[in-house]
Symmetry: C2
Subunit: 284 residues, 2 copies
Protein backbone atom coordinates (compact mmCIF):
# COMPACT_ATOMS: atom_id res chain seq x y z
CA UNK A 1 0.00 0.00 0.00
CA UNK A 2 1.54 3.29 -1.09
CA UNK A 3 -0.44 5.55 1.23
CA UNK A 4 -0.13 5.83 4.99
CA UNK A 5 -2.56 8.58 5.85
CA UNK A 6 -5.80 8.69 3.89
CA UNK A 7 -8.35 11.48 4.26
CA UNK A 8 -11.88 11.02 2.96
CA UNK A 9 -13.95 14.16 2.45
CA UNK A 10 -17.61 13.19 2.66
CA UNK A 11 -18.29 10.10 4.78
CA UNK A 12 -21.48 8.93 3.07
CA UNK A 13 -22.32 5.74 1.19
CA UNK A 14 -19.25 5.84 -1.07
CA UNK A 15 -16.78 7.49 1.32
CA UNK A 16 -17.84 5.22 4.19
CA UNK A 17 -17.69 2.10 2.03
CA UNK A 18 -14.24 3.12 0.80
CA UNK A 19 -13.02 3.37 4.41
CA UNK A 20 -14.57 0.02 5.36
CA UNK A 21 -13.07 -1.60 2.24
CA UNK A 22 -9.61 -0.31 3.18
CA UNK A 23 -9.88 -1.75 6.67
CA UNK A 24 -11.17 -5.06 5.33
CA UNK A 25 -8.18 -5.18 2.94
CA UNK A 26 -5.83 -4.79 5.91
CA UNK A 27 -4.92 -1.12 5.51
CA UNK A 28 -2.56 -0.37 8.42
CA UNK A 29 -2.49 3.42 8.13
CA UNK A 30 -4.83 6.08 9.45
CA UNK A 31 -8.15 7.09 7.95
CA UNK A 32 -9.41 10.59 8.67
CA UNK A 33 -12.95 11.58 7.76
CA UNK A 34 -13.97 15.16 7.00
CA UNK A 35 -17.61 16.16 6.95
CA UNK A 36 -19.99 18.96 7.75
CA UNK A 37 -22.07 17.38 10.50
CA UNK A 38 -20.21 16.50 13.70
CA UNK A 39 -22.76 13.93 14.88
CA UNK A 40 -22.43 12.04 11.61
CA UNK A 41 -18.63 12.01 11.93
CA UNK A 42 -18.83 10.91 15.58
CA UNK A 43 -21.02 7.97 14.58
CA UNK A 44 -18.54 7.03 11.83
CA UNK A 45 -15.70 7.01 14.37
CA UNK A 46 -17.61 4.99 16.95
CA UNK A 47 -18.75 2.54 14.26
CA UNK A 48 -15.08 1.99 13.40
CA UNK A 49 -15.50 3.27 9.84
CA UNK A 50 -12.89 6.02 10.25
CA UNK A 51 -10.14 6.56 12.85
CA UNK A 52 -10.33 10.33 13.26
CA UNK A 53 -12.69 13.03 12.17
CA UNK A 54 -12.86 16.77 11.81
CA UNK A 55 -15.05 19.42 10.22
CA UNK A 56 -11.92 21.51 9.55
CA UNK A 57 -10.61 20.95 6.02
CA UNK A 58 -7.16 22.40 6.70
CA UNK A 59 -6.53 20.23 9.75
CA UNK A 60 -7.97 17.13 8.10
CA UNK A 61 -5.76 17.12 5.00
CA UNK A 62 -2.46 18.36 6.51
CA UNK A 63 -0.90 14.89 6.94
CA UNK A 64 -2.75 13.15 4.13
CA UNK A 65 -0.84 11.14 1.52
CA UNK A 66 -4.13 10.61 -0.29
CA UNK A 67 -7.24 12.80 -0.24
CA UNK A 68 -10.46 11.28 -1.60
CA UNK A 69 -13.21 13.68 -2.61
CA UNK A 70 -16.39 11.75 -1.84
CA UNK A 71 -18.92 14.51 -1.21
CA UNK A 72 -21.42 15.48 -3.89
CA UNK A 73 -19.76 16.73 -7.08
CA UNK A 74 -21.24 20.22 -6.68
CA UNK A 75 -18.95 20.79 -3.68
CA UNK A 76 -15.66 19.65 -5.19
CA UNK A 77 -14.45 23.01 -6.42
CA UNK A 78 -15.08 24.79 -3.12
CA UNK A 79 -13.39 21.95 -1.21
CA UNK A 80 -10.36 22.10 -3.52
CA UNK A 81 -10.04 25.83 -2.85
CA UNK A 82 -10.31 25.20 0.90
CA UNK A 83 -7.65 22.50 1.03
CA UNK A 84 -5.14 23.51 -1.66
CA UNK A 85 -2.81 25.53 0.54
CA UNK A 86 -2.81 22.83 3.23
CA UNK A 87 -1.89 19.81 1.14
CA UNK A 88 1.56 18.38 1.67
CA UNK A 89 4.03 18.04 -1.20
CA UNK A 90 3.70 14.64 -2.88
CA UNK A 91 0.07 14.18 -1.83
CA UNK A 92 -2.38 12.63 -4.30
CA UNK A 93 -5.95 13.89 -4.63
CA UNK A 94 -8.58 11.67 -6.24
CA UNK A 95 -12.37 11.73 -6.44
CA UNK A 96 -15.31 9.38 -6.84
CA UNK A 97 -17.60 11.72 -8.80
CA UNK A 98 -20.11 10.44 -11.37
CA UNK A 99 -19.02 13.07 -13.91
CA UNK A 100 -15.48 13.72 -14.96
CA UNK A 101 -14.55 16.16 -17.75
CA UNK A 102 -15.96 19.39 -16.21
CA UNK A 103 -14.78 18.47 -12.73
CA UNK A 104 -11.26 17.63 -13.80
CA UNK A 105 -11.13 20.90 -15.74
CA UNK A 106 -11.98 22.69 -12.46
CA UNK A 107 -9.74 20.68 -10.14
CA UNK A 108 -6.50 20.17 -12.05
CA UNK A 109 -5.53 23.88 -12.11
CA UNK A 110 -6.28 24.14 -8.38
CA UNK A 111 -3.65 21.58 -7.39
CA UNK A 112 -0.53 23.22 -5.94
CA UNK A 113 2.92 22.23 -7.31
CA UNK A 114 3.90 18.71 -6.23
CA UNK A 115 0.29 17.61 -5.61
CA UNK A 116 -1.27 15.29 -8.18
CA UNK A 117 -4.92 14.90 -9.14
CA UNK A 118 -6.28 11.59 -10.50
CA UNK A 119 -9.93 11.40 -11.53
CA UNK A 120 -11.90 8.27 -10.67
CA UNK A 121 -15.45 6.93 -10.60
CA UNK A 122 -16.36 3.66 -8.90
CA UNK A 123 -19.57 2.26 -10.43
CA UNK A 124 -21.45 1.35 -7.29
CA UNK A 125 -24.33 2.84 -5.44
CA UNK A 126 -27.80 2.53 -4.08
CA UNK A 127 -30.84 4.82 -4.10
CA UNK A 128 -30.30 5.38 -0.38
CA UNK A 129 -27.23 7.56 0.13
CA UNK A 130 -25.63 8.13 3.51
CA UNK A 131 -23.27 6.30 5.80
CA UNK A 132 -25.99 3.88 6.96
CA UNK A 133 -25.69 2.02 3.67
CA UNK A 134 -21.88 1.85 3.73
CA UNK A 135 -20.51 -1.67 3.30
CA UNK A 136 -17.05 -3.22 3.09
CA UNK A 137 -18.03 -5.15 -0.05
CA UNK A 138 -19.66 -2.32 -2.03
CA UNK A 139 -16.72 -2.22 -4.46
CA UNK A 140 -16.02 -5.95 -4.64
CA UNK A 141 -15.91 -6.81 -8.36
CA UNK A 142 -17.30 -3.36 -9.14
CA UNK A 143 -15.91 -1.39 -12.06
CA UNK A 144 -13.86 1.69 -11.16
CA UNK A 145 -13.19 4.06 -14.05
CA UNK A 146 -9.92 6.03 -13.92
CA UNK A 147 -9.86 9.04 -16.24
CA UNK A 148 -6.36 10.37 -16.92
CA UNK A 149 -5.70 13.56 -18.89
CA UNK A 150 -2.51 14.82 -20.54
CA UNK A 151 -1.62 16.41 -17.20
CA UNK A 152 -2.08 13.31 -15.06
CA UNK A 153 1.05 12.10 -13.25
CA UNK A 154 1.54 8.45 -14.14
CA UNK A 155 3.05 7.46 -10.80
CA UNK A 156 0.18 8.99 -8.83
CA UNK A 157 -2.29 7.29 -11.18
CA UNK A 158 -0.57 3.93 -10.63
CA UNK A 159 -0.94 4.30 -6.87
CA UNK A 160 -4.65 5.10 -7.15
CA UNK A 161 -5.20 2.12 -9.47
CA UNK A 162 -3.35 -0.16 -7.03
CA UNK A 163 -5.54 1.00 -4.19
CA UNK A 164 -8.81 0.27 -6.03
CA UNK A 165 -7.50 -3.14 -7.05
CA UNK A 166 -6.49 -3.93 -3.46
CA UNK A 167 -10.05 -3.28 -2.26
CA UNK A 168 -11.44 -5.57 -4.94
CA UNK A 169 -12.58 -3.21 -7.70
CA UNK A 170 -11.75 -3.72 -11.37
CA UNK A 171 -10.17 -0.57 -12.80
CA UNK A 172 -10.87 0.59 -16.36
CA UNK A 173 -9.09 3.48 -18.09
CA UNK A 174 -11.02 6.00 -20.22
CA UNK A 175 -10.68 9.64 -21.20
CA UNK A 176 -12.96 11.93 -19.14
CA UNK A 177 -14.98 12.59 -22.30
CA UNK A 178 -15.48 8.90 -23.11
CA UNK A 179 -16.53 8.33 -19.52
CA UNK A 180 -19.04 11.17 -19.59
CA UNK A 181 -20.76 10.05 -22.80
CA UNK A 182 -20.93 6.42 -21.70
CA UNK A 183 -22.38 7.23 -18.29
CA UNK A 184 -24.68 9.87 -19.74
CA UNK A 185 -26.15 7.03 -21.84
CA UNK A 186 -26.30 4.18 -19.31
CA UNK A 187 -26.94 6.12 -16.11
CA UNK A 188 -27.75 9.82 -16.39
CA UNK A 189 -30.24 9.52 -19.28
CA UNK A 190 -32.08 6.63 -17.54
CA UNK A 191 -32.43 8.77 -14.41
CA UNK A 192 -33.94 11.66 -16.36
CA UNK A 193 -36.24 9.20 -18.21
CA UNK A 194 -37.36 7.65 -14.94
CA UNK A 195 -38.20 11.02 -13.37
CA UNK A 196 -39.99 12.12 -16.58
CA UNK A 197 -42.03 8.92 -16.72
CA UNK A 198 -43.50 9.46 -13.26
CA UNK A 199 -44.28 13.12 -14.00
CA UNK A 200 -45.99 12.14 -17.27
CA UNK A 201 -48.28 9.70 -15.49
CA UNK A 202 -49.13 12.21 -12.75
CA UNK A 203 -49.86 14.86 -15.37
CA UNK A 204 -52.25 12.55 -17.26
CA UNK A 205 -54.24 11.87 -14.08
CA UNK A 206 -52.97 11.87 -10.52
CA UNK A 207 -55.12 8.85 -9.63
CA UNK A 208 -53.44 6.55 -12.16
CA UNK A 209 -50.07 5.97 -10.49
CA UNK A 210 -51.32 3.60 -7.75
CA UNK A 211 -52.31 1.11 -10.49
CA UNK A 212 -48.65 0.64 -11.37
CA UNK A 213 -47.21 -2.82 -10.83
CA UNK A 214 -43.82 -4.47 -10.80
CA UNK A 215 -42.77 -3.24 -14.25
CA UNK A 216 -43.39 0.42 -13.41
CA UNK A 217 -41.75 0.01 -10.00
CA UNK A 218 -38.62 -1.33 -11.73
CA UNK A 219 -38.56 1.57 -14.18
CA UNK A 220 -38.97 4.21 -11.49
CA UNK A 221 -36.82 2.86 -8.66
CA UNK A 222 -33.96 5.20 -9.57
CA UNK A 223 -36.35 8.17 -9.32
CA UNK A 224 -35.91 7.70 -5.56
CA UNK A 225 -32.35 9.04 -5.95
CA UNK A 226 -31.60 12.42 -4.30
CA UNK A 227 -32.79 15.27 -6.59
CA UNK A 228 -30.01 17.66 -5.51
CA UNK A 229 -27.29 15.12 -6.29
CA UNK A 230 -28.78 14.48 -9.74
CA UNK A 231 -29.24 18.18 -10.42
CA UNK A 232 -25.46 18.56 -9.92
CA UNK A 233 -24.63 15.55 -12.09
CA UNK A 234 -26.85 16.97 -14.84
CA UNK A 235 -25.26 20.42 -14.56
CA UNK A 236 -21.73 18.98 -14.75
CA UNK A 237 -22.48 16.60 -17.60
CA UNK A 238 -24.84 18.90 -19.48
CA UNK A 239 -23.55 18.42 -23.02
CA UNK A 240 -23.31 14.62 -23.01
CA UNK A 241 -26.69 14.20 -21.31
CA UNK A 242 -28.24 16.65 -23.80
CA UNK A 243 -26.82 14.58 -26.66
CA UNK A 244 -28.33 11.35 -25.27
CA UNK A 245 -31.63 13.04 -24.37
CA UNK A 246 -32.00 14.34 -27.94
CA UNK A 247 -31.32 10.85 -29.32
CA UNK A 248 -33.87 9.41 -26.93
CA UNK A 249 -36.40 12.06 -27.93
CA UNK A 250 -35.92 11.06 -31.60
CA UNK A 251 -36.38 7.44 -30.65
CA UNK A 252 -39.69 8.25 -28.92
CA UNK A 253 -40.75 10.32 -31.95
CA UNK A 254 -40.06 7.33 -34.20
CA UNK A 255 -42.20 5.17 -31.95
CA UNK A 256 -45.01 7.76 -32.16
CA UNK A 257 -44.78 7.72 -35.96
CA UNK A 258 -45.06 3.92 -36.01
CA UNK A 259 -48.23 4.18 -33.90
CA UNK A 260 -49.65 6.99 -36.05
CA UNK A 261 -49.09 4.93 -39.19
CA UNK A 262 -50.29 1.74 -37.48
CA UNK A 263 -47.05 0.17 -38.65
CA UNK A 264 -47.20 -2.85 -36.35
CA UNK A 265 -44.55 -4.94 -38.12
CA UNK A 266 -42.23 -1.90 -37.89
CA UNK A 267 -43.01 -1.53 -34.19
CA UNK A 268 -42.38 -5.22 -33.52
CA UNK A 269 -39.02 -4.89 -35.29
CA UNK A 270 -38.02 -2.08 -32.90
CA UNK A 271 -39.13 -4.13 -29.89
CA UNK A 272 -37.20 -7.15 -31.13
CA UNK A 273 -34.06 -5.09 -31.76
CA UNK A 274 -34.18 -3.88 -28.14
CA UNK A 275 -34.94 -7.30 -26.69
CA UNK A 276 -32.05 -8.90 -28.56
CA UNK A 277 -29.56 -6.35 -27.18
CA UNK A 278 -30.78 -6.39 -23.58
CA UNK A 279 -28.42 -9.27 -22.72
CA UNK A 280 -25.45 -6.95 -23.42
CA UNK A 281 -26.16 -5.25 -20.10
CA UNK A 282 -24.45 -7.00 -17.21
CA UNK A 283 -26.53 -10.01 -16.16
CA UNK A 284 -29.11 -9.71 -13.37
Amino acid sequence: MDFKNITIIGVGLIGGSFALSLKKAGFAGTITGIGRREENLARAVSAGIIDHSTTDHAAGVRNADLVVLASSVGQFEKIARDIRSHLKRGAVVTDVGSVKAEIIKQLEPLMPPGVFFVGGHPIAGKECPGMEGAAADLFTDAQCVITPTAKTNGEAMGKVIDLWNIIGAKTVIMTPEQHDLIFAAVSHLPHVVSYALINTIIDIDKNILPHGGRGLRDLTRIALSPPDLWRDICAYNRSSILRTLRSFSSSISSMITLFEESDWPGLEKEFLRAKESRHLIETD
Copy 2:
Protein backbone atom coordinates in the same frame (compact mmCIF):
# COMPACT_ATOMS: atom_id res chain seq x y z
CA MET B 1 -68.55 -22.20 -7.45
CA ASP B 2 -70.99 -21.47 -10.31
CA PHE B 3 -69.11 -23.30 -13.06
CA LYS B 4 -68.66 -27.04 -13.47
CA ASN B 5 -66.74 -27.31 -16.72
CA ILE B 6 -64.14 -24.68 -17.42
CA THR B 7 -62.23 -24.46 -20.70
CA ILE B 8 -59.05 -22.39 -20.93
CA ILE B 9 -57.89 -21.41 -24.41
CA GLY B 10 -54.14 -20.79 -24.24
CA VAL B 11 -52.37 -22.74 -21.49
CA GLY B 12 -49.44 -20.37 -20.91
CA LEU B 13 -48.35 -18.37 -17.89
CA ILE B 14 -51.77 -16.84 -17.22
CA GLY B 15 -53.96 -19.72 -18.43
CA GLY B 16 -51.85 -22.28 -16.60
CA SER B 17 -51.77 -20.24 -13.41
CA PHE B 18 -55.54 -19.80 -13.60
CA ALA B 19 -55.97 -23.59 -13.79
CA LEU B 20 -53.55 -24.20 -10.90
CA SER B 21 -55.30 -21.51 -8.82
CA LEU B 22 -58.67 -23.18 -9.40
CA LYS B 23 -57.34 -26.53 -8.24
CA LYS B 24 -55.69 -24.97 -5.21
CA ALA B 25 -59.01 -23.30 -4.33
CA GLY B 26 -60.70 -26.72 -4.37
CA PHE B 27 -62.45 -26.52 -7.74
CA ALA B 28 -64.23 -29.86 -8.13
CA GLY B 29 -65.18 -29.56 -11.80
CA THR B 30 -63.27 -30.33 -14.96
CA ILE B 31 -60.65 -28.11 -16.57
CA THR B 32 -60.06 -28.51 -20.30
CA GLY B 33 -57.11 -26.82 -21.95
CA ILE B 34 -57.10 -25.83 -25.63
CA GLY B 35 -53.87 -24.96 -27.37
CA ARG B 36 -52.05 -25.21 -30.66
CA ARG B 37 -49.14 -27.42 -29.69
CA GLU B 38 -50.02 -30.97 -28.63
CA GLU B 39 -46.78 -31.56 -26.73
CA ASN B 40 -47.38 -28.46 -24.64
CA LEU B 41 -50.90 -29.62 -23.81
CA ALA B 42 -49.70 -33.14 -22.98
CA ARG B 43 -47.18 -31.69 -20.53
CA ALA B 44 -49.90 -29.57 -18.94
CA VAL B 45 -52.07 -32.67 -18.44
CA SER B 46 -49.24 -34.79 -17.03
CA ALA B 47 -48.21 -31.91 -14.72
CA GLY B 48 -51.77 -31.90 -13.37
CA ILE B 49 -52.41 -28.33 -14.51
CA ILE B 50 -55.42 -29.30 -16.67
CA ASP B 51 -57.58 -32.45 -16.74
CA HIS B 52 -58.14 -32.78 -20.48
CA SER B 53 -56.72 -31.17 -23.55
CA THR B 54 -57.47 -30.74 -27.23
CA THR B 55 -56.32 -28.69 -30.18
CA ASP B 56 -59.90 -28.73 -31.50
CA HIS B 57 -61.78 -25.60 -30.49
CA ALA B 58 -65.22 -27.02 -31.21
CA ALA B 59 -64.69 -30.15 -29.13
CA GLY B 60 -62.99 -28.22 -26.34
CA VAL B 61 -65.77 -25.71 -25.68
CA ARG B 62 -68.84 -27.90 -26.27
CA ASN B 63 -69.48 -28.70 -22.59
CA ALA B 64 -67.94 -25.55 -21.10
CA ASP B 65 -69.90 -23.45 -18.61
CA LEU B 66 -67.03 -20.95 -18.70
CA VAL B 67 -64.56 -20.30 -21.51
CA VAL B 68 -61.46 -18.27 -20.62
CA LEU B 69 -59.59 -16.64 -23.50
CA ALA B 70 -55.97 -16.69 -22.35
CA SER B 71 -54.04 -16.73 -25.60
CA SER B 72 -52.46 -13.55 -26.93
CA VAL B 73 -55.00 -10.80 -27.62
CA GLY B 74 -54.29 -10.82 -31.35
CA GLN B 75 -55.93 -14.27 -31.61
CA PHE B 76 -59.13 -13.55 -29.69
CA GLU B 77 -61.29 -12.57 -32.66
CA LYS B 78 -60.36 -15.64 -34.70
CA ILE B 79 -60.94 -17.90 -31.70
CA ALA B 80 -64.34 -16.33 -31.06
CA ARG B 81 -65.32 -17.02 -34.67
CA ASP B 82 -64.13 -20.63 -34.32
CA ILE B 83 -66.02 -21.37 -31.13
CA ARG B 84 -69.20 -19.30 -31.41
CA SER B 85 -71.39 -21.95 -33.01
CA HIS B 86 -70.21 -24.61 -30.54
CA LEU B 87 -70.86 -22.78 -27.26
CA LYS B 88 -73.72 -24.07 -25.16
CA ARG B 89 -76.61 -21.85 -24.14
CA GLY B 90 -75.91 -20.12 -20.82
CA ALA B 91 -72.14 -20.34 -21.19
CA VAL B 92 -70.03 -17.42 -20.08
CA VAL B 93 -66.97 -16.29 -22.04
CA THR B 94 -64.32 -14.14 -20.36
CA ASP B 95 -60.79 -13.10 -21.22
CA VAL B 96 -57.56 -12.08 -19.53
CA GLY B 97 -56.33 -9.64 -22.19
CA SER B 98 -54.22 -6.59 -21.34
CA VAL B 99 -56.37 -4.34 -23.53
CA LYS B 100 -60.11 -4.09 -23.34
CA ALA B 101 -62.13 -1.57 -25.38
CA GLU B 102 -61.17 -2.73 -28.89
CA ILE B 103 -61.34 -6.38 -27.95
CA ILE B 104 -64.73 -6.13 -26.32
CA LYS B 105 -66.00 -4.25 -29.37
CA GLN B 106 -64.88 -7.24 -31.47
CA LEU B 107 -66.05 -10.01 -29.18
CA GLU B 108 -69.45 -8.88 -27.87
CA PRO B 109 -71.18 -9.01 -31.28
CA LEU B 110 -69.72 -12.47 -31.91
CA MET B 111 -71.44 -14.05 -28.89
CA PRO B 112 -74.47 -16.16 -29.91
CA PRO B 113 -77.81 -15.60 -28.13
CA GLY B 114 -77.72 -16.87 -24.53
CA VAL B 115 -73.94 -16.69 -24.28
CA PHE B 116 -72.48 -13.86 -22.21
CA PHE B 117 -69.16 -12.10 -22.56
CA VAL B 118 -67.43 -10.52 -19.55
CA GLY B 119 -64.13 -8.67 -20.09
CA GLY B 120 -61.39 -9.11 -17.51
CA HIS B 121 -57.70 -8.41 -16.96
CA PRO B 122 -55.76 -9.87 -14.06
CA ILE B 123 -52.72 -7.68 -13.27
CA ALA B 124 -50.05 -10.32 -12.96
CA GLY B 125 -47.24 -11.48 -15.13
CA LYS B 126 -43.59 -12.05 -15.66
CA GLU B 127 -41.25 -11.34 -18.55
CA CYS B 128 -41.05 -15.07 -19.17
CA PRO B 129 -44.32 -16.23 -20.67
CA GLY B 130 -45.24 -19.88 -21.07
CA MET B 131 -46.58 -22.64 -18.89
CA GLU B 132 -43.19 -23.17 -17.18
CA GLY B 133 -43.77 -20.05 -15.11
CA ALA B 134 -47.35 -20.96 -14.15
CA ALA B 135 -47.98 -20.87 -10.40
CA ALA B 136 -50.99 -21.46 -8.14
CA ASP B 137 -50.31 -18.18 -6.30
CA LEU B 138 -49.80 -15.87 -9.30
CA PHE B 139 -53.15 -14.16 -8.64
CA THR B 140 -53.04 -14.17 -4.84
CA ASP B 141 -53.78 -10.57 -3.77
CA ALA B 142 -53.38 -9.48 -7.40
CA GLN B 143 -55.77 -6.94 -8.85
CA CYS B 144 -58.19 -8.24 -11.48
CA VAL B 145 -59.98 -5.55 -13.48
CA ILE B 146 -63.49 -6.40 -14.72
CA THR B 147 -64.70 -4.11 -17.51
CA PRO B 148 -68.47 -4.23 -18.04
CA THR B 149 -70.22 -2.44 -20.88
CA ALA B 150 -73.89 -1.54 -21.33
CA LYS B 151 -74.37 -4.98 -22.90
CA THR B 152 -72.78 -6.98 -20.09
CA ASN B 153 -75.09 -9.45 -18.34
CA GLY B 154 -74.95 -8.72 -14.61
CA GLU B 155 -75.45 -12.31 -13.52
CA ALA B 156 -72.62 -13.58 -15.73
CA MET B 157 -70.41 -10.77 -14.47
CA GLY B 158 -71.20 -11.70 -10.86
CA LYS B 159 -70.11 -15.28 -11.50
CA VAL B 160 -66.83 -14.19 -13.06
CA ILE B 161 -66.14 -11.82 -10.14
CA ASP B 162 -66.88 -14.62 -7.66
CA LEU B 163 -64.43 -16.90 -9.42
CA TRP B 164 -61.56 -14.39 -9.29
CA ASN B 165 -62.27 -13.71 -5.63
CA ILE B 166 -62.28 -17.44 -4.85
CA ILE B 167 -58.79 -17.81 -6.30
CA GLY B 168 -57.55 -14.89 -4.21
CA ALA B 169 -57.57 -11.93 -6.61
CA LYS B 170 -59.07 -8.54 -5.74
CA THR B 171 -61.58 -7.49 -8.40
CA VAL B 172 -61.92 -3.85 -9.47
CA ILE B 173 -64.62 -2.54 -11.82
CA MET B 174 -63.81 -0.02 -14.58
CA THR B 175 -65.13 0.90 -18.00
CA PRO B 176 -63.03 -0.58 -20.83
CA GLU B 177 -61.92 2.94 -21.74
CA GLN B 178 -60.80 3.82 -18.19
CA HIS B 179 -58.90 0.54 -18.07
CA ASP B 180 -57.16 1.20 -21.36
CA LEU B 181 -55.95 4.68 -20.45
CA ILE B 182 -54.75 3.62 -17.00
CA PHE B 183 -52.83 0.61 -18.30
CA ALA B 184 -51.51 2.55 -21.28
CA ALA B 185 -49.95 4.90 -18.70
CA VAL B 186 -48.66 2.44 -16.09
CA SER B 187 -47.80 -0.52 -18.30
CA HIS B 188 -47.90 -0.04 -22.08
CA LEU B 189 -46.07 3.33 -22.15
CA PRO B 190 -43.31 2.00 -19.81
CA HIS B 191 -42.79 -0.96 -22.15
CA VAL B 192 -42.39 1.31 -25.19
CA VAL B 193 -40.07 3.58 -23.18
CA SER B 194 -37.97 0.63 -22.07
CA TYR B 195 -37.57 -0.69 -25.63
CA ALA B 196 -36.79 2.85 -26.90
CA LEU B 197 -34.17 3.40 -24.20
CA ILE B 198 -32.17 0.35 -25.24
CA ASN B 199 -32.38 1.28 -28.93
CA THR B 200 -31.22 4.83 -28.15
CA ILE B 201 -28.13 3.58 -26.35
CA ILE B 202 -27.30 1.11 -29.15
CA ASP B 203 -27.73 3.86 -31.74
CA ILE B 204 -25.35 6.19 -29.88
CA ASP B 205 -22.62 3.53 -29.81
CA LYS B 206 -23.07 -0.22 -29.76
CA ASN B 207 -20.18 -0.64 -27.31
CA ILE B 208 -21.81 1.43 -24.58
CA LEU B 209 -24.55 -0.95 -23.39
CA PRO B 210 -22.25 -3.37 -21.49
CA HIS B 211 -21.34 -0.51 -19.12
CA GLY B 212 -24.91 -0.45 -17.84
CA GLY B 213 -25.41 -1.33 -14.19
CA ARG B 214 -28.26 -2.12 -11.86
CA GLY B 215 -30.28 1.02 -12.65
CA LEU B 216 -30.30 0.38 -16.39
CA ARG B 217 -31.06 -3.30 -15.83
CA ASP B 218 -34.11 -2.32 -13.78
CA LEU B 219 -35.30 0.09 -16.46
CA THR B 220 -34.95 -2.41 -19.27
CA ARG B 221 -36.09 -5.66 -17.66
CA ILE B 222 -39.53 -5.37 -19.28
CA ALA B 223 -37.84 -5.06 -22.70
CA LEU B 224 -37.36 -8.83 -22.37
CA SER B 225 -41.13 -9.22 -22.90
CA PRO B 226 -42.23 -10.95 -26.13
CA PRO B 227 -42.22 -8.42 -29.02
CA ASP B 228 -45.16 -10.08 -30.82
CA LEU B 229 -47.35 -9.93 -27.72
CA TRP B 230 -46.51 -6.25 -27.21
CA ARG B 231 -47.04 -5.47 -30.89
CA ASP B 232 -50.61 -6.76 -30.48
CA ILE B 233 -51.21 -4.86 -27.24
CA CYS B 234 -49.99 -1.67 -28.96
CA ALA B 235 -52.20 -2.27 -31.98
CA TYR B 236 -55.28 -2.88 -29.82
CA ASN B 237 -54.67 0.06 -27.49
CA ARG B 238 -53.31 2.42 -30.14
CA SER B 239 -55.19 5.59 -29.19
CA SER B 240 -54.58 5.48 -25.43
CA ILE B 241 -50.92 4.58 -25.84
CA LEU B 242 -50.50 7.36 -28.40
CA ARG B 243 -52.00 9.82 -25.93
CA THR B 244 -49.57 8.76 -23.18
CA LEU B 245 -46.60 8.63 -25.58
CA ARG B 246 -47.30 12.20 -26.71
CA SER B 247 -47.46 13.38 -23.09
CA PHE B 248 -44.21 11.58 -22.36
CA SER B 249 -42.60 13.14 -25.42
CA SER B 250 -43.61 16.61 -24.13
CA SER B 251 -42.18 15.74 -20.75
CA ILE B 252 -38.84 14.78 -22.35
CA SER B 253 -38.92 18.00 -24.41
CA SER B 254 -39.40 20.02 -21.21
CA MET B 255 -36.41 18.25 -19.69
CA ILE B 256 -34.35 19.10 -22.80
CA THR B 257 -35.37 22.77 -22.48
CA LEU B 258 -34.28 22.83 -18.83
CA PHE B 259 -30.87 21.47 -19.89
CA GLU B 260 -30.59 23.91 -22.81
CA GLU B 261 -31.33 26.83 -20.50
CA SER B 262 -29.12 25.39 -17.73
CA ASP B 263 -32.11 25.80 -15.45
CA TRP B 264 -30.82 23.56 -12.66
CA PRO B 265 -33.26 24.69 -9.96
CA GLY B 266 -36.09 23.99 -12.44
CA LEU B 267 -34.65 20.55 -13.20
CA GLU B 268 -34.30 19.74 -9.49
CA LYS B 269 -37.95 20.72 -8.99
CA GLU B 270 -39.01 18.20 -11.67
CA PHE B 271 -36.85 15.49 -10.09
CA LEU B 272 -38.30 16.24 -6.65
CA ARG B 273 -41.88 16.17 -7.96
CA ALA B 274 -41.25 12.68 -9.38
CA LYS B 275 -39.49 11.40 -6.28
CA GLU B 276 -42.28 12.57 -4.01
CA SER B 277 -44.91 10.72 -6.05
CA ARG B 278 -42.98 7.48 -6.47
CA HIS B 279 -44.42 6.07 -3.23
CA LEU B 280 -47.90 6.15 -4.82
CA ILE B 281 -46.91 3.08 -6.82
CA GLU B 282 -47.56 -0.13 -4.92
CA THR B 283 -44.68 -0.73 -2.49
CA ASP B 284 -41.69 -2.88 -3.50
